[in-house]
Amino acid sequence: MPSDANHKPDLLSMTLAFDQPAGLPSFVARIDPRWKLAAIVLAAGGLAWLQSLGPAVAGMIASLLLVAVARLPWSWYLGRLVAALAVYLLFFLWLPFVVEQAHSTWDLGFVVLSETGTIRLAYLSAKAVAMISLILVLVGTTALPNLLKAARSMYVSRLLVFLMLLAYRYVFLLIEEFNRLRIALRVRGFRNGADLHSYRTIGQVAGTLLVRSAERSERVGQAMRCRGFDGEFRSLDDFETAWPDVVMFLTTVGFAALLVTWDLMIR
């Protein structure tokens, strides 16, 4: 047990939503991150294109199979899937209740549902589950530095890659700063309310957080320059393409292409 007072494992563990789970070794985890990233980005793009229920559900089933093949721990996977779906449902849950003249409806007695809206919700949900699952397979089976290095090798903007790395690394420090400010306010008797004083205080806290973030980013930048950083992202792990990488890529992208073709045919 670390002895330092500033060690807060509970707070920190909450911020590790994209940490790799301690899962079992799998075929998917061994795939070259470049091929994996390309396959999953293309497949997710294909899924986003779908507009019919059948192909969307088939895509969802295939992505769940991939989750199983990747041997992601179900608790890790479901926790993140449910959290992401909860945000998604906030925007789309109302679809079955929007009844327009041209829509056929289902009268359940206490509520009338739009058939079109319900089908839309179903295929959008299937697409969402499929796409979130693909992303979780990607982040759950690839260490972040390797994922970012793969992104760089595929010509993703250097700035974007570093933004992702540093955001991932420093978000917990911002949460710590925020909690310190919150405690400082509470010990001085502040209680949040719907009044001008509260709004002004929240604004000041947000401003302070921004200033501290800017100062910290300045110091982080200095520390990076002092260790020879020249803007290029480097990693110890060298990538090497093997035949399973190509097979995985072709299977995933090929299946997504089939779904898109099917969708275009029945649209």
């Binding site: 670390p2 330092d4 060690h7 920190l12 940490d19 972040l144 690394r169 520390a223 002092c226 110890l236």
Partner: protein, 244 residues
């Protein structure tokens, strides 16, 4: 040009963009292999001295040599990271990778070394600071003392000739501080240690520079200067407990 001095600064000055003069004509010299303490009150300019020596801030000076390079010269500045390492006040500013191994490897990879050489250096540096086996640990999960040692490992992996340590004992508990002093005393390279922890300075440095309001107001043997109650009091410092 090779000199006996690891650091030689003559009339080093620096003003912030708003015109505030942070350093004013400071002149000092640090011999190769020497460990020197840089002491002074808050805002004296200690961190600014380090950033100027590392070439992060563009200082003006009659002459400035750091590990045989001139930080004011852009070509020399590119070579400085290989020769001068800085340990920042807050280790969280320095540990930006997602694993300790990647963080320690960050500097050597930037030097363009081969993967095998980088792996050797990472293992060696982690061993030096007592963090063998921490390779895959996440920096944010480490204690303050472990973070400090990881930050030092990240710099040692670059095999610098000069180590600049800014308030290295800050955020450390007594045990972490004691371990740090032991570690610093085992590193046989030139070190400049900026700190308010004057007991630690006594334990690690032969000589001190007293900085106040951007000027060097005294320099000499650590025992002599830190034991001078009038000098310490005049510059917002206190005689270390052991010398009272």
């Amino acid at each position: 040009m090779e000199t006996q001095s690891a650091v030689a600064a003559t009339t080093l000055s620096y003003a912030y963009p708003d015109g505030t003069e942070a350093l004013s004509d400071i002149t000092f010299d640090v011999a190769r292999g020497e460990t020197v303490g840089l002491v002074g009150p808050n805002g004296a300019g200690k961190t600014t001295v380090f950033l100027c020596l590392a070439g992060v801030l563009q200082a003006s000076a009659e002459s400035l040599q750091v590990a045989g390079l001139d930080p004011r010269n852009s070509n020399d500045r590119k070579q400085l990271p290989a020769r001068v390492g800085i340990i920042f006040q807050n280790s969280d500013d320095q540990l930006f990778s997602t694993t300790i191994k990647d963080d320690v490897a960050f500097g050597p990879l930037n030097l363009g070394l081969s993967s095998d050489e980088v792996r050797n250096r990472v293992a060696e540096a982690l061993g030096q600071v007592g963090l063998t086996g921490f390779d895959e640990r996440v920096p944010m999960h480490l204690s303050g003392g472990e973070k400090r040692r990881a930050a030092i490992a990240g710099v040692l992996a670059m095999k610098p000739e000069i180590l600049l340590l800014d308030e290295p004992s800050m955020f450390l508990d007594p045990r972490g501080r004691r371990e740090l002093i032991g570690l610093l005393n085992t590193l046989a390279i030139t070190k400049i240690i900026a700190s308010h922890d004057l007991d630690m300075i006594l334990d690690t440095c032969q000589r001190v520079l007293v900085l106040d309001h951007g000027k060097i107001v005294a320099q000499g043997l650590a025992q002599t200067l830190l034991g001078d109650a009038a000098l310490m009091s005049a510059h917002g410092l206190e005689v270390p407990y052991r010398l009272r």
